[in-house]
């Protein structure tokens, strides 16, 4: 209860953060965070399209919902980019780059696609964004010697995702 109250206070006034950080964040890296964020971008585009089709009058409720979808799309595209950058910058080592020489270009492509997914409501771009991060995930898990599998996400938009096959 106290934590809930302080969390609201933090959301309102923005408390300062005290870092208890690790140089390798406790060794925990997982591209699934980026994958889910990218998937959310596609979901928001789908919701934007559905709303535009069904609400022809475009009253205040339309603009309110549309603004929220756009805001979430913006936020999650940027989060996906951030998560990929952290793994790329902190985890990926020269030995990985020797084995996967395409990695730099792939990460750069992801950054570009993430930005394009913010700038537009183009579903194809967003789906490509998801797939590029899937490829990044495959490489990431391979560096750890973990096999991967592809399966449809168990929630809309149910795109194919790469998961560690544990």
């Amino acid at each position: 209860m106290i934590h809930e109250f302080v969390t609201k206070l933090d959301q309102t006034i923005g408390l300062e953060t005290a870092k208890a950080h690790c140089d390798i964040p406790c060794g925990i890296y997982d591209p699934i965070v980026a994958q889910i964020n990218a998937l959310t971008v596609v979901r928001m585009i789908d919701l934007m399209r559905e709303l535009a089709e069904k609400d022809a009058e475009k009253g205040p409720e339309f603009y309110n919902s549309m603004a929220r979808y756009v805001a979430v799309k913006e936020e999650h595209a940027e989060k996906a980019k951030h998560e990929v950058r952290v793994i790329w910058g902190d985890y990926i080592k020269p030995a990985h780059l020797e084995k996967y020489p395409e990695l730099h270009k792939l990460v750069h492509d992801i950054m570009q696609m993430g930005s394009a997914s913010r700038q537009t409501a183009d579903r194809v771009t967003a789906v490509n964004f998801v797939e590029a991060i899937n490829k990044f995930a495959e490489i990431f898990w391979d560096t750890k010697g973990v096999a991967t599998k592809r399966a449809k996400a168990p929630y809309a938009p149910a795109l194919e995702m790469v998961y560690p096959d544990l």
């Binding site: 106290i2 934590h3 809930e4 302080v6 969390t7 206070l9 933090d10 408390l15 300062e16 953060t17 005290a18 870092k19 208890a20 950080h21 690790c22 140089d23 390798i24 964040p25 406790c26 060794g27």
Partner: protein
Amino acid sequence: MLRLLKVSGDSLSPVLKNGDFVLIAKIPLLFKFLQRGDMVVFHHNIHGTMIKQVEEISITGESIMVSGFNQYSVDSAQFGSISKEAIIGKVIWHIKRPDST
């Protein structure tokens, strides 16, 4: 005097976890009572505002070694001791996340 901060990172887990809040006392007098094991918030030129555990205090009390609870912690093992002037406050109250055990 008192300051509320949010903890980010898990180098002090399981005592302090990411998303917990801490209340720190900024009363200078308290520094005299700083001892090994205390949780302190301090300023670091590169890393900014950090929170770690006091590992060791020099005889003069001028410098303090701080540490985390795991091998990956960014602490005095990497950046050396911190000066007592860098200390912002000592944790006097800890508000755990509801899902923390």
